[in-house]
Amino acid sequence: MGEPRRPLLAAYMGALFAFLYLPIAILVVLSFNDSKLATVWRGFSLRWYEELFRDTEVLLSIRTTLVIAIAATLLSILFGTLLAFGIERHTRSPALENGIYLPLLIPDVVTGIGLLSFFATISLPLGTTTVIIAHSVWGTAFAAAIVRTRLRGFDRSVEEASLDLGVREVPTFLRITLPAISPGIIAAALVVFTLSIDEFIIAYFTAGQTVTFPIQVYSMIRFGVTPEINAVATVMLLFSMALIVGAYLIARPRGPRAARPGEGPA
């Protein structure tokens, strides 16, 4: 059936990707810079990678951040999907509908400060757990908003037809509803995960002695950026690519079972 050919739009995509990737490409190049100063080139070197792989603080902070992001994503998807369904299916309250966007409208610094004083008040020690809680507060809102966008476009008559034909609610949900909204859930998970990995301000207030990766980077920048950070960026990029390719390879065999042809493993 062929897709619309739009050479201008394709050229635009090319330019957009150049905009997105050029700054990162520069960092990759600079990660091989022998100079301590990122703005001066002094020949090819792998010394920053050597330093990076000896830098246990950076490595530990990356691990902490991954643990937080995975836990916060799972929590957010759980709460967020339930919330999206509840709002779309079981309520007509406009206050509640707008209410789920509220956490997105609270700047990080406010959430962070609020939680910090709250955790102090109930004397919950700051650490990985508190950051997970903090991240899933707004993660839930992101997940609910994205899943809901998808859910609203979902044609309920298919679901009703299934129920009318005597299929029970849970199988209907698993076979019909879930596949249809799964792109929304996957998009939500991607957004929450990537935001959590990157989140600095809330973590800064709620991490206590725990050092997340962004906090580590912030600390490094305060004492002057070294190309070790560029090396970190390069490794992160490679890691993300490997992760995505891996996820794609694992997901592919199940692709054809998706609800609509062309829905793909997304």
């Binding site: 001066v40 109930i122 004397s123």
Partner: protein, 363 residues
């Protein structure tokens, strides 16, 4: 999760711990928390990359105590951590003098027993005359220095940079290539000193004048930079910056044309110190740590690696003269440092001062 139960649990555990400690015969009660004897783990608050990497190892070798280090990104962060935690969470904190003075005034640090820190003898006599803590009664100094102008002598034509007003009203050689510090106490420094006011002023009128002058100067700045100003000098992006002496040396290490000068209007004196936050249960061991940190080789490490001057006479005298030649500001004598105005805790006046600084950043 029930908060009432959690609180009750915390209280029970705390009480049980105290009872055990008391029963074990460590109960020395004199307004201080029950002390733990023998080798312990000291919890230390310090800045990133500010102590020798093998310090913990060497300290353990010498005293049997281990270290648990928590990094802080600023003094404010450090204060927040101390005040936010249960007393006794931290045994040692690295803080800059005005903050140390504030904690001392608020009775939030332990008094030191000088007899347990024999290495105090390694310090310059001047280091016991610092106004924030005369006689080192509550703190030991780790490093000290001043703030001045760090500049590229090869990139400013025939301009001679030697005063704060050169930064505030730059000529064509400097315009758009000047950075200043934006941490509150230093943000107003060039203006306050140019106007002839104290760095510790909280007078509304004086502050307003300094705010006006600082906002005027913003249009000719490249930007504010308290983190990487020296790399801007190396790349030539900036040619004259307000900067701390030690950090200026990081630039000089890469580019020999980078000079440091104490401006003619005068500058500040800052001292980084170690204190024992109130409530520590390891006061004895914390003294051991302070004594250890004052051993010459540790001061020498700071001078050679951080390129900060240290109040440790023994350490400074052990330095390679070539280092002082490469980094002339390392050779600034203690007497010159003490001529600068010591930064003081502003107490009640702090909010007026910080409001002024906020206005400069907002303006």
């Amino acid at each position: 999760m029930n908060q009432g139960i959690r609180r009750a649990l915390v209280a029970v555990v705390a009480a049980a711990t105290l009872a055990v400690v008391a029963a074990c015969g460590g109960g020395e009660e004199s307004g201080t928390a029950a002390q733990e004897a023998g080798p312990v783990t000291l919890s230390v608050l310090t800045f990133n990359d500010y102590i020798p990497e093998n310090l913990a190892e060497e300290f353990e070798k010498k005293t049997g105590n281990t270290l648990e280090i928590t990094y802080i990104t600023s003094n404010e962060d450090g204060i927040a951590k101390i005040e936010g935690a249960e007393p006794g969470t931290y045994d040692i904190a690295f803080l800059t003098s005005p903050f140390t003075q504030g904690l001392i005034a608020a009775d939030k640090v332990e008094a030191l027993d000088g007899s347990k820190i024999p290495n105090l003898a390694n310090l310059y006599p001047e280091a016991a005359e610092l106004a924030y803590d005369p006689g080192n009664a509550h703190s030991v100094p780790y490093s000290w220095g001043t703030t001045g102008i760090c500049w590229r002598q090869d990139l400013v034509g025939d301009t001679v940079v030697d005063s704060w007003s050169d930064l505030l009203t730059p000529d064509d050689n400097l315009k758009g290539k000047v950075t200043m510090l934006d941490e509150d106490r230093w943000l107003l420094e060039p203006a306050l000193k140019t106007l002839g006011f104290s760095l510790n002023t909280t007078d509304a009128d004086e502050l307003q004048q300094a705010v006006d002058l600082s906002i005027q100067a913003k249009s000719t700045l490249l930007g504010y930079d308290a983190e990487t100003f020296y790399s801007k000098l190396v790349s030539g992006e900036a040619v004259a910056v307000q900067g701390w002496d030690g950090w200026c040396n990081y630039g000089t290490a890469e580019e020999a044309n980078i000079q440091f000068v104490i401006p003619s209007e005068g500058s500040d004196l800052w001292v980084d110190t170690l204190v024992i936050p109130k409530g520590s249960t390891h006061i004895e061991q914390a003294h051991q740590f302070m004594d250890f940190i004052l051993e010459p080789q540790n001061g020498q490490w700071v001078a050679e690696n951080i390129l900060y001057k240290v109040p440790n006479k023994a350490a400074m005298e052990a330095l390679d003269p070539a280092l002082l030649e490469q980094f002339p500001n390392m050779a600034i004598p203690p007497a010159t440092l003490l001529e600068q105005e010591a930064l003081e805790d502003l107490g009640e006046g702090q909010s007026a001062f910080t409001d002024a600084a906020s206005k400069v950043k907002a303006g």
